[in-house]
Subunit: 137 residues, 2 copies
DNA sequence: TATTACCCTACTAATTCTATAGGAGTAAAG
DNA sequence: CTTTACTCCTATAGAATTAGTAGGGTAATA
């Protein structure tokens, strides 16, 4: 299951992608427009800013804004920041590899092989989908 | 992330798929061979039996066995039983559809569109992979 | 300097995951 | 017919994660 954090994060990002570039939008505005708890959204946007996806402006008329063109924001990046590794088991993770404690031989593990296929297909989708694609509906 | 339950369940199923068909294997044997906590495995196998994937024989020399040919056990079924719906959000689930509370218009929701793609690609993989494929390594 | 809005830490409530406990029931072997 | 070796089933508990809340701090702008 997708976490609410990721779901809300993507909604917020697409909302920002629809705005004029560089114009800050306040947390309160996004919260109202997308029906997201203000405080929860605040922490999500903070995460997105720290990851380099968003910029922010303080004070009156401040808020968050996209740092890149929506075309250049791939869902691979978004998912990794919000949801964590794309792989469903760490033994097939490209960026966060870890050996399974219970598994003596990875190459003989059925789960391993299955999850490599799943990872590759998901990576493909996230890699070829950008924020711009998502707001084109 | 894949739950341990699913991981262990798949390992147990592939272990059974490697045995002579119809010959029961005890929980204890699978537990030792696959390094899975005995009691946890017990509850997993029970789930698999109730779902119709496994049969069991009680008493001495009893145990669990596959009810179908490994070729006919698709991962779609296995994943649904162990991990739950394939869809990452319920608004794109084929079997467990539910409207999102926070989302006024599904067709305009970016998350919805993205998750349909992910669901379809995962369904494809699980649908074309059987237990027989997984033990062929 | 008052206001607006982001920044940050800490905490709590709820849920899910990962088992564990303990016994009841069943079948086969001696 | 009794022992042994299994599955069956319910309940529950500890750990981890998720989801959300509280509250004050800090910077920028008018």
């Amino acid at each position: 299951m997708l976490s609410k954090k990721t779901k809300y994060g993507i909604k917020a990002l697409t909302y920002l992608a629809k705005q004029e570039t560089g114009v800050p939008v306040s947390i309160a505005t996004i919260s109202e427009m997308e029906n997201i708890s203000l405080k929860f959204l605040e922490s999500i946007l903070l995460t997105l800013r720290k990851s380099g996806l968003l910029g922010s402006k303080k004070g009156k008329a401040g808020g968050y804004y996209l740092l890149k063109d929506p075309k250049d924001v791939k869902m691979t990046m978004v998912m990794r920041v919000l949801e964590g590794p794309i792989a469903m088991v760490s033994c097939v993770s490209l960026n966060y590899y870890e050996k399974c404690a219970d598994c003596p031989d990875e190459t003989a593990c059925a789960v391993h092989h299955l999850m490599i296929r799943v990872r590759d297909s998901n990576l493909k989708i996230y890699g070829e989908t950008s924020l711009a694609d998502l707001i084109s509906y």
